[in-house]
């Protein structure tokens, strides 16, 4: 299948620090591609390059055959790349439903100046936006929170709302930055299920940074491992998981203690599911 998103030889340096070096990632249509690697490996930097928050020094970002390396972020969003953030990327000053309305920004059918002058069309369009926002809110089961302020909402709810707002931008490709952070194992598992459903019904392609290994194994079709700004290895999740270099780089060293805490979270059922795959 043709690739929706191709990262070709992307490299970026900040002063003397090489954050990314010749990174090649291929995200085929309708796949969930995982991106793993220890802290500071450059995963989020890669996301920033894809979205245009940073301009890479070398390489190209190809989206559906088109080089988007030099487009500003909002144009990339309009093309259909949606992104979530590691620390919840929502606008705190707005209510939940307003966040969903602002997320539809690139699909609004009136100009800024006609809005200021109160052209009738802008009112009708606002009603449509609100209806759309409520529909997506309904869809993620959060309609009862529409008029709430964000502050005070539980973390897990905010995470879900964030994914919802990104869906409201009407994306083709979803970039998820650690979607299961702050979730318990059960929640993470449920999130994986939801993601698979979402992919099936909305025809989404997903590139996902994730630390929660069982989730990666369950959900991802293909995994890239990033270490010190380079692709260490790539392959099917199960193969990558047992790759000695990955174990050394990602699970070894100081991370071991973290991993030990995580290991019991893998329920026997999930383990067997992984083996049979």
């Amino acid at each position: 299948m043709s690739a929706v998103l191709e990262i070709q030889g992307t490299g970026i340096r900040f002063g003397g620090l090489v954050a990314l070096d010749d990174v090649n990632v291929n995200v085929p249509e309708w796949e969930i591609v995982g991106l793993i690697g220890p802290n500071g490996a450059g995963k989020t930097t890669l996301f920033n390059c894809i979205m245009g928050a940073y301009t890479a020094n070398t390489g190209k970002i190809i989206y559906r055959g088109r080089d988007i390396s030099l487009l500003p972020t909002h144009r990339r969003t309009a093309l259909g790349i949606g992104r979530t953030f590691q620390n919840i990327g929502l606008i705190r000053g707005l209510t939940v439903v307003e966040n969903f309305m602002v997320a539809q920004h690139s699909r609004i059918g009136y100009g800024a100046w006609s809005a200021l002058l109160g052209v009738p069309r802008s009112f009708a369009e606002e009603r449509r936006l609100k209806a759309n926002a409520m529909e997506v809110l309904d869809f993620i089961g959060m309609a009862h929170l529409a008029d709430s302020q964000l502050e005070g909402l539980p973390y897990g709810t905010l995470k879900l709302i964030e994914v919802g707002t990104v869906l409201a931008t009407d994306p083709d490709v979803l970039l998820l930055d650690e979607p299961s952070s702050g979730m318990g194992p059960d929640e993470a598992h449920e999130f994986g299920e939801r993601l698979l459903k979402l992919r099936k019904t909305l025809n989404l392609t997903v590139l996902m940074i994730e630390h929660h290994v069982p989730l990666v194994v369950n959900v991802c079709d293909y995994v890239y491992v990033l270490n010190f700004g380079k692709i260490l290895t790539e392959g099917k999740p199960q193969a990558v998981r047992n790759h000695p270099e990955v174990v050394a780089a990602y699970l070894g060293g100081e991370v071991t203690t973290d991993e030990e805490e995580q290991t019991p979270q893998i329920s026997p059922e999930e383990e067997t599911a992984g083996v049979t795959a």
Binding site: A103, G184, L202
Partner: protein, 499 residues
């Protein structure tokens, strides 16, 4: 699966927002009466009061325009402008220069057209001046931007305001009022009209994509950009809009004093304008208008209180100087004790006027205030719960129980609809499909899965998750039918199993 889908078609959407409280017809009439009383009172007072007080009311309206201009930068963009006297002053001189030098106006002989054109030039010059600053603001912000605006104001004071042909030196440039508006009272109404115009644009700003975009940029530029907002364009637009308002304020100020003197536009006045916006309530239209009017009228309010007036006269200070001191004190009080300014103090009233119940704290507001938004939503959902779903709230295990024994009328309906009994794993979703209980079910499932607190073992948690996922799946298909042009779902299913 098909059963669930078919069922959903007849069922209402999940988790509808609880109906908002709305006042009765009587309540609306009462609110409208209060509004009419307030605005009618202002108009009636302006129409009947002595001319010199009408003149002061006009000044209050002009300050409100300037306050709203600053509010765009301070409240919406979140940057400090200490050089607004630059924009306002330039605009005032431009409009005065136009009507006197170009249109040939003299007192009591000035066409409305010349006035209108003068105001238009004022607005444009304010916008252009702010555009320059806006382009700078794209690169720097915070303290350094404040410093730049400060220097900008001083630069305007020392250079542009001293161009002899524009300002006629210290004597000032005359700006005669247009025919029909030469009296203070008539001019006050003209100022009200322009204030109403600015309030309208400001209202449209906040209630449209522009306001949401600007507020998003203020809170987080990366997030705003990833929502598809052109951060650069909206920041510039906000500055230009602020400049347009400031230009209008400057033009009106010129015709208010009828003789524009460069000394009128100094740093002290720019500081006063910042103070009045802060005290009024950053980002709140009503608060800013009230705060601005208060500071414009403050010196004259002192006159009303005789002992205070005498004290000021004895001290040998001008009334304006007292305003600055009081303004600073109020600003400190605002920042420390009442961050929302006057607007926050008035918010119970303004909320009530907008059609909410009279309450000291806003509805559904999380965080600081007691009404915890999410808990409240869940609680409301619980209150509207169907008997059969009551268990579901308590967690996954009881959800299973509910699915095993669905309430009689529901299972009957399900069988009648499809002719086949529900599958066990569809039970949770099926139970939730019926009418009003649906919202509750979604909330319940959500509650049950968060933190997995309700589930005794991992297996139970999964069961709940599966039910929930099925539920969502059905809704998804109803709302977003699969796009045929792309990969058919059949391939997806195999993909799923591979993973």
């Amino acid at each position: 699966m098909t059963a669930t889908a078919a069922e959903t078609i007849s069922a209402p959407a999940i988790s509808r927002a609880p109906a908002k409280w709305r006042p009765s017809a009587q309540g609306w009439v009462f609110r409208a009466a209060v509004l009419v009383l307030i605005f009618g009172g202002i108009i009636w007072r302006t129409a009947t009061i002595e001319q010199f007080w009408a003149d002061r009311f006009a000044l209050a309206a002009i300050y409100a325009v300037i306050g709203l201009s600053l509010n765009v930068v301070l409240g919406y963009v979140g940057q400090v402008s200490l050089g607004h006297h630059g924009f306002v002053g330039i605009a005032a001189f431009v409009s005065a220069y136009y009507v006197t030098e170009k249109a040939g106006c003299v007192p009591n002989e000035c066409s409305l057209g010349a006035f209108g054109t003068g105001i238009l030039f004022a607005v444009i010059s304010g916008g252009v001046a702010a555009l320059l600053l806006g382009l700078i603001a794209l690169r720097i912000r915070g303290l350094y931007l404040a410093l730049i605006t400060l220097s900008y104001g001083f630069m305007a004071e020392r250079s542009i305001f001293e161009i002899p042909f524009l300002t006629r030196g210290g004597a000032g440039m005359p700006a005669p009022r247009p025919d029909g508006f030469t009296t203070d009272r008539a001019y006050a109404f003209l100022c009200y009209f322009f204030l109403a115009l600015v309030i309208f644009v400001d209202w449209r700003l906040l209630r449209s994509k522009v306001g949401r975009a600007v507020l998003s940029v203020k809170h987080s530029e990366p997030v705003a950009a990833s929502y598809g907002i052109n951060v650069t364009a909206y920041k510039t637009l906000a500055f230009v809009l602020s400049g347009l308002f400031a230009g209008l304020g400057g033009g009106l100020l010129a015709f208010h004093t009828q003789n524009v003197v460069s000394n009128d536009f100094n740093f002290a006045i720019a500081l006063l304008w910042v103070l009045m916006v802060v005290v009024g309530g950053l980002g709140n239209r009503t608060g800013v208008v009230i705060g601005s009017a208060f500071f414009a009228l403050f010196p004259f309010l002192l006159e009303l209180i005789h002992p205070l007036e005498e004290a000021v006269i004895e001290s040998g200070r001008a009334f304006g100087q007292v305003t600055i001191v009081v303004g600073a004190a109020l600003a400190i009080l605002t920042v420390i004790q009442f961050p929302g300014g006057i607007a926050e103090q008035l918010s119970p009233i303004t909320r009530w006027l907008r059609g909410q119940k009279f309450a000291l704290h806003p509805e559904g507001h999380g965080g600081k205030h007691k009404g915890h938004a999410h808990k409240k939503g869940a609680l409301l959902a619980k209150l509207g719960l169907h008997k059969g779903d009551q268990h579901a709230v308590d967690g996954a295990p009881s959800e299973q129980q509910a699915s095993a024994n669905p309430p009689p009328e529901e299972s009957a309906a399900a069988v009648a609809d499809h002719g086949t009994p529900l599958r066990a794993d569809n039970g949770a979703a099926g139970g939730g499909e019926t009418a009003a209980t649906h919202g509750a079910a979604a909330v319940a499932a959500d509650d049950g899965t968060r933190g997995g607190d309700g589930s005794e073992s991992a297996g139970d948690g999964d069961e709940g998750a599966a039910g929930d996922a099925d539920d969502i799946d059905a809704v998804i298909r109803r709302r977003f039918p699969p796009v045929p042009s792309r990969t058919p779902p059949a391939t997806g299913a195999t993909d799923d199993e591979e993973a």
